[in-house]
């Protein structure tokens, strides 16, 4: 075992992590997309998510203005768009055209048509976490592509190649094979 010298690098040890697109809308109605790998379900009952996003990002401004967001699940087919959404800043560029969108079920923020699932959320609270705000959201609706998930809501990896982020420009896919403990 080697000691990690620079503790700020600890998160590399936890990567790869799943990639999501956080869709938001600012007070003037402009849609924004941001790539996030630091997002998890926070609770099933009631349904809640948590996502750590940089304090510097445009998304935070939009969330403060309108209080709603969508967590969408992209696949490798959208990798170029995922990269754009994750590297361009909404303060400098209008990112609203990156993905194709459609009306959501319950929130005013749109969902991403090309994504295999869209989870619609309302901001419950934001927690100051150093360089990020940890956004906690109530899940108020969700929809999914029934070709990408089986009847038990397990993603079908040979059909939907979901992305994880390793580091920098490097992304990973899962093997389409499951393992069981014995």
């Amino acid at each position: 075992m080697r000691v990690l010298e620079d503790l700020e690098d600890f998160y590399y040890l936890m990567h790869p992590l799943r990639v999501f697109i956080l869709v938001s809308k600012d007070g003037r109605g402009r849609v924004n997309f941001m790539t996030v790998a630091w997002a998890i379900p926070a609770s099933s009952d009631p349904p809640m998510v948590a996502a750590a996003i940089s304090k510097e990002c445009y998304t935070l401004k939009a969330l403060r203005e309108t209080g709603e967001f969508v967590l969408a699940i992209p696949t490798v087919e959208q990798l170029g768009k995922v990269w754009k959404a994750g590297t361009l800043s909404g303060f400098k560029v209008d990112k609203s055209g990156i993905f194709k969108t459609r009306k959501a079920l319950k929130v005013k923020v749109p969902i991403i048509e090309e994504c295999i699932a869209n989870i619609e959320c309302k901001v419950r609270r934001m927690i100051d976490c150093g360089e990020t705000m940890l956004v906690i959201g109530d899940v108020i609706a969700a929809s999914y592509d029934e070709k990408a998930y089986d009847e038990k809501l397990r993603v079908q990896l040979y059909k939907a190649k979901i992305l994880s982020h390793l580091q920098g420009k490097l992304f990973l896919l899962y093997e389409a094979k499951t393992y069981k403990p014995t």
Copy 2:
């Protein structure tokens, strides 16, 4: 797109998610292991993690008593142990013998010898999130197996087959191939 009927199932849409072992120690000094898939880095500077754990679990009692934990990264070689740690309750069973441990660098909780990385944390705060507590921890030390990570701290997937949890008894591994946006 199909509407998700039972919103409490939304987290299936976000899985698979990476698997970590949360190591804790209760006030009487007994070590406990718990499998968590709902964990992320929360900040790099200062280094912080966030993990959502059930309010029913023994780990929460231990965290309240001693305020320290380790997030360890297992591989498929420990899948049987990962399953045990995730399905047995510390209230009913002494799980302290599941993994081989050794002394940590900075916390009193031990690290897992068989894991490729161990991130040592002190509880900063806990946030009530429905059925879970979202535990936010300050990372105060970390160590890793230099054979499992390259010089840029990228996990070497052909050497270290890290686990993700799909659903129930089903786990997944990554392809040992990286993808880049074009």
